[in-house]
Every structure is written in C-alpha cells, then in structure tokens.
Symmetry: C2
Subunit: 474 residues, 2 copies
C-alpha cells in the first residue's frame, strides 16, 4: 500500500512506521456518478447538510464550479461532445482540480467526508479517483450512482436544472431546454454505468439509487461506519418539493414573568395566538397536514385548535435546564452566578447542572430531523432552543451561532425547499408578547457584577396579574 506518490501524504499513513494504518476510521471520499438531471447535486447537498449536523465534517466539491472558472460564460452543449477535444481537456482538468482539492481537504485534520459532485461517467475517471484516494492516500472511497428512468421525475429534475443551474442563468427557457437535451445526449454517449454485484469494477462500496430512492436502492460492499450511515440516509426517499411550518408555543405564563423551562400554561395573549395560528393554518388548506408538538402543555395548548392529526414528541421538548428550571435570569444570577457566567461564555456546549446543553438538544433531534426531511406540510410547534437547533439544520447555521438565533414568539415560520437550498418566510402575528431573546453580554467572566450579567435580560412582568391588569387597562 505504501508507495512513492507525487501527492503529498499527510494523514493517510502512520507517521512513525512504514506499516499502513488500519483505515476503518480514515477520511472518506464519496464520488457521485450519473447523467445530468438525475438528482446528484441535490442529494450531495442534502447529504453534506446531514453529515455536518451529525458530527462528520463534510464538504461538496462540484466539478461544474471548476469548469465554470475556466470558461467564463457557458456557451452551449457543444462543450460536452466527446469529440470536442479542447473542451474535453477543460472538463478533464476541472475534474482533476476538484478531485485534488477534495483530496487535499481530506488530508487536513478533522475533515471527514468529501463529496465529489459530477457525472464521473467514465470508468477511467472512477479509476483515477480510486487510485488517488484509496491507493495513494490510504483513505476510503465510496461511489453513489443516481439512476432515474421515471419520466415524471426526469421532467421535474430538468425544470429544476434549468431554473437553478448557473449555466442557464439568463438563457431563454426554450433554448435552455434544447441545449440541456443535447448536453444529456453527449453524456449518454460517454456513460458507462458501473455494474453491481460481482461485476462492480472497483473493490470499494457502491450504492445505486433508483429514482431518487423511490425505486429502491442496491448496495454493494458497504462496510465502515460512515458508509453505512450514508447508505441509511440516502436510502430514504426525500421530497423534491417540501414545505414545513414552525412555530413556538404561544406566550406562556413563565414567559410573561421571565422564567426559563418549566411546564407553565399559556398566558391570555398566548391563548389568542393559538386561535390565530389555527385560523392561519386552516386558511392555507394544506393537504395531509400533520402537527408535531412537544409533550409540554404550552405547545399542546397552542396547537389544540388545529384540525389535523397531532403527534406529541419528547424530542421536541425545550432544552432541559436541570437545577435551573423555573428560575428567572435574575434568580439564576443570584443563586448560580458561576453557572450563568459559564453559560454566557460558551452557550453551545454549556450543560445546565443535571440538565442539557444545546449540543445535547441537537443530538436528540437527529431522528426527528431525519424523519422531518422526508415529510411535507408538517407544522412543528416547539420551543425557542429546539427551533433554533431545527432551523440550524435546514439553513446550515454555524454551530456557534445556533444559541443566539432569533426565533421570536407569535411568529409562523415557513420553510420551503428551493433548488438545492431552503428558503424562509416569517409571518409575525399581531398579538403582543414579551421578547425572550437574551443577547450575549459583553462581560462573560465569572467575577462580573450582577449588573453586567443581567444587562441583556429582556423586559418582563413581575407577575402574571401585572400583565392581566395591563391588558384590562387597554
């Protein structure tokens, strides 16, 4: 396995001996295979999102991005003809640059999975990937072939490509469609599908995905933790059009008086929001609507008026603040000043005594997110910290920013898949409520003053009666 190679070897082989390391836990290159418009890029993007959220640092290298760097403007399908030698050279160069960048990235520590997104239609390309990544670097390789024969799915994929591909930006639809059809024909002429079973050409895992998973999955030689995790993820078909709705519970009595955690009922204004949410959702007339809430009374009460099947899931419960449950920030500062300072210092990793951290919540949400990604028209009614973690999944928010994302009360969040990414729209309902968003204070040291610790605590009432009186006075 060890050999002189032109590629700089950093992490693949044992530093102190010539014996190759066992490679069960080595970085992994995932190479996509398939004709254009078969759903490769969407799958690559989704897979990367899932792997990153679940702790395997993953990056997509899109060969077409490299090709576009060499050709300032996309001209036409002519560049994909097998007999167009200058264009063929550019395409080969783009393939190699993407491959080498991906391999170099995998050699850096903590980078675990690189996805090489491109057609990789020829056997020689696949062998080149295998030789560099497996033989020379001592890493792992896995191929994912996207096959699609379903005419309805193909037409939809074509439309998506025309709408979202950088190549067709600014081109008239009819011209673009004609061009894409010819481009496809050129690729088809060069396409050698890797067969499966004993005939699969390379000694590494290969997964064939039929019609985006709807037609099933054929897998060969899957061994290794990351590979089987990937198989598990891609084998579940996911919708190409997807709309999800999110809301926090209506304002609770604890929100009103600035307490965290607990299991309080809705405030009078929270109940109004529940009515208003039900009206808003009913007006949308969503087919096969489902409602998922936490098991706490404030989310159940918020969704109670919505006519749809309801699931109450403990995974959607608010972050558990353990010994600090049902306290205000003022009480926290009085009773546990060190804990509040530690939390402000590193809110993502901070775990309440006998309670949870944001990282804990992100972990317990993984099965729910996996399921949610296969659904459409689900309304999730949950809590501030939990919704931060859920939205961070769809929008790939950097981990450190998650605990500070703004998810206000009395606001409906609509998330729609558009092309390869998600889009967010929010509707703020005209029902007053307290603000529960406490920004990170400047001073996070353990010996700060109470004033410094509490400077960003949002305004709240002293008790619920005070709110009731205020409402009556209006």
């Amino acid at each position: 396995m060890f050999m002189n190679c032109s590629f700089p070897v950093v992490g693949g082989l044992h530093a102190t001996c010539r014996k190759p390391l066992p490679r069960q836990f080595s970085p992994l290159m995932v190479a996509m295979v398939g004709l254009p418009g078969r759903g490769k890029s969407l799958l690559a993007k989704r897979l990367a999102r899932y792997m990153n959220y679940t702790g395997d640092t993953t990056k997509v290298y899109d060969i077409s991005d490299y090709r576009r760097k060499h050709m300032k403007k996309y001209a036409s399908h002519e560049m994909f003809r097998a007999d167009n030698l200058p264009a063929w050279r550019i395409r080969l160069q783009s393939f190699r640059e993407a491959l080498e960048d991906a391999a170099a990235w995998l050699q850096q520590s903590d980078n675990k999975v690189a996805i090489l997104d491109g057609p990789n239609v020829s056997r020689s390309q696949r062998e080149e990937i295998y030789d560099l990544v497996y033989t020379q670097l001592g890493f792992r390789v896995m191929f994912i072939e996207c096959v699609c024969e379903d005419p309805i799915m193909l037409e939809r994929n074509f439309k998506e490509t025309l709408q979202f591909s950088a190549d067709y930006r600014g081109m008239a639809t009819e011209e673009a469609l004609k061009d894409l059809t010819l481009k496809m024909a050129h690729y088809k002429a060069q396409y050698v599908s890797p067969s499966l079973g004993s005939e699969w050409e390379l000694p590494c895992p290969m997964v064939k995905l039929l019609d985006g998973g709807e037609g099933g999955v054929i897998a060969h030689g899957v061994a290794g933790i990351k590979e089987s995790k990937i198989l598990s993820y891609i084998s579940t078909p996911k919708p190409f059009q997807q709309t999800l709705y999110f809301s926090r519970h209506g304002e609770s009595e604890f929100n009103v008086i600035g307490k965290i955690g607990g299991n309080a009922p809705l405030s009078p204004r929270g109940k109004k929001y529940a009515d208003s949410l039900a009206k808003h959702i009913h007006a949308l007339n969503l087919p096969s609507l489902q409602v998922w809430t936490s098991t706490l009374q404030r989310t159940k009460a918020t969704s109670a008026g919505i006519k749809a099947p309801q699931l109450h899931l403990p995974e959607l419960d608010e972050i558990y603040s353990g010994d600090c449950e049902s306290l205000t920030y003022e009480e926290l500062q009085e009773l546990f000043p060190r804990e509040l300072a530690l939390r402000d210092h590193e809110k993502l990793k901070y775990r309440y005594p006998q309670g949870e951290s944001y990282l804990d919540v992100m972990k317990r949400l993984i099965p729910i997110l996996s399921q949610l990604e296969t659904e459409t028209n689900v309304l999730v009614v949950s809590h501030q910290a939990v919704l931060r973690c859920i939205l961070a999944y769809f929008f790939e928010t950097p981990m450190e920013e998650v605990p500070y994302m703004h998810v206000p009360l009395h606001t409906i969040i609509k998330v729609t898949l558009q092309g390869y990414n998600y889009n967010m729209e929010t509707v703020k309902m005209p029902i007053d409520c307290v603000d529960t968003n406490r920004a990170k204070p400047k001073n996070c040291s353990e010996n700060r003053s109470a004033e410094d610790a509490l400077i960003t605590v949002p305004a709240h009432f002293e008790n619920v009666n005070q709110l009731t009186r205020t409402l009556e006075a209006i």
Copy 2:
C-alpha cells in the same frame, strides 16, 4: 384505517379521536424471510443486540420455539412436508402464536421493535403479518429476506445449524445432515421469494440480503428512522467466526494510589504486565492482528510492545470524571460528598460535573462497536468503565448492572462468537496489582457518614514510593 378488529387495540390509534395517528414513530415488526440455514437467526439475534444497546427496545420471537412447545421432541424432516396436514397445522399455529405474541408485546409501551424469526416462505404468511400489524394495529412492518447461494457459506451455515439448533441436539451428525437436507427441500417447494422493485408484493419496506451482505443488499421502500437504522446495520457484512481480545491498561500510578481518571503513566507492575501481554499475544500468532487503544498514555504504553498496526481512538478513553478527575474516593467524599452519594445511588445515569455518565460512554462507543462487530483478531486496550460498556454490548448485560461488572486489571479477556452468542474466557496474568472495583455501598443517601460512603473503597497505597519500597522489600 380504523376498523373493528378482533385484536385488542391499545397503542396504534389515537385515543381521543377516530383519525389515525401519523405512524412515523410507531412500533415496528421486522419479519425475516428465507430458507433454513441462510443466516436468519444469527442476523435476528445480532440486530436485536444492536437495537437494544442503541436505545430501541427489541425482542426476537422465534417461530421454531413455538413449534417445539407443541411437539415435545423433534421427530424428523417429515413435519415440514407440504402434504403433511397435521404437521402443517402445528406449524401454522406456531407461526400465528409467535406473530400474535410479538404484536401484543409491541402494544406495550416502550417496546419498539419485534423481530419475527422464521422462514415465512409463503406469500399468504407475509400478507397475514402485514394485515395484522399494519392494517389492524396501525404499526409498521418491514421484511428482511436472507438469500444465500454461495456454497461455502451454505456449508458453514449448515454446520452451525447442526451444532446449535435445538432440533438436532443429541442426533447423530450423519442422520442430522440428511434430515436437514430433506427439511430444506420441503421448504424450497413452498418458498415464494418476495420479488423486489415495482413487483414487491406489499406496500412496506423490504430488504434482500445476499450472502449475508457479502453479495450486497437490495432495499425497497425504506422510510422511517428505525427502518433506515436497520438497513444501515444489516448492510455491513459481519464475520461468522469472530475472536476479539480485550484488556485494561497495566496498573497505572493513579491505580496504585487510588485516584480516578487522569492520564498517569504505568506503575512498575503495570510495565511488567505490558511485557507479559505482548508475549502472550505474540504467542497466539494471530493473522491480521490489529490493536486499538485509547489516546491516554497508560493504554498506549500497555500495547507499545505488540508488533501490529495500532489505532488510538478517543472513543476508547476512560469515562471523563470532569471536576472529579484525579481524586481518590476519600478526596471525593471530602470535597463532593453529595456527588459521590448521587453517583452511588444511580451509577448508570449519574454524570460527573462537567464530565460523563456511563450512558454517555455507551453512546460514544456505538460507532466503535459497529466497526468492532465487523472485525476479527482485534485487541482492544482500554479502561475499566469503557470495557464494562463494550462487554455489555456483546453479552447483553442489563443496563443497571453495567457499572458494577467486574473487569479486573492484568487480565486478558477473549471473546468468541459461538453459534448465536458470545463466549468469554479470561486469563489472569500472574503480576500483582491493586483491585479497582468498588462495590455499591449499602447506604447511598446524601447524609450518610464518610465511613458508610467509603466502606467499599478497595485497598490502595498512600503514594507510589510506598509501592516501590514494598516491591524492593520482596
């Protein structure tokens, strides 16, 4: 979906309305399909072990156990002939009893996956499973078909069946082999393989496993968290003969003086154990031996003399005791008496302040265990708590007992797969060491005396020099 059914409906449908619940998170029935000797039972047993350890309570219902209840002694293959009506009735009755018991078990709360282990070779049997579990109870169903055509694998499976099946206990080998061959022929005559793709007979997930996964996997309609987790687990081929070795590091300087955690070097006796371990392992002359250790110096030093590729994995590091690292139990009782009492009260779930619990360790070990299950001839050099969790996986130790398992220093543990279960042998090396096993004290209350708290602390030295002097005096 809702209908009057003879089977008592408890958990499948919403209690308060006639609308069926979304069933994404419902219990799951996994039904095996395949001829005898195709590896179904071993797979069912392994899958149940994995699911239970990873938090999905799972139970195997073996149809042949029910059949044996009705027929006190196995007579011969004649009972599997399609035209043997009385025997056919017994077999059908056994199938139904196992299915109904499994379904009733799934209706109890917290039971998540039932595996119906049996040939289920006819289409009508599979339809009966589907109708009861999916249509009547509103649960989920998944089929796993084991296909094996590889003659070497088949011969090995036959030998295993003859050796471990209750039917052939006490029968002469030649007679048993003849009987098994005829039994197989009867089943083959009744076998209708569920085809895949658009022709698969039922609208539920189906996975076909070829030659125990070595020949690949074909999956159809896999949706749902548990189903994709199962696909991921079964798609990775696992050896039928497997031997793994485990050892704690040699006695460390911290062990000598009764301190927990930390990153101390080996004691003089610990170094002797390292030499002795290397000699013992070399004498075994294991092909393709690998050594996996933690990243702490005491495990690396213990395995340093072993000539084999070595992997140092942070997942194998000792349970992290956070604020309590590097303290003796006496110091723990002095500084954190409440923490020690809480830990003694519920050691499995107890999490050290800023540290880990046994449950945390079990979770972080899952990827390592998944990989380890596909290996043979691996020596794992790790730590007391970690090895407790690892051995608990292979031996299906009840969770509550895990923190009290006896895994002494200077002992080599050999674990071998025998039939469907693992067998353990231990070799205690003749090199003295302290005992680090602290039994659960009778009094675990927070206001107990220091004496009560420390009553089970094993003997240790005051400092390392004291041990050195003792050794010199010998």
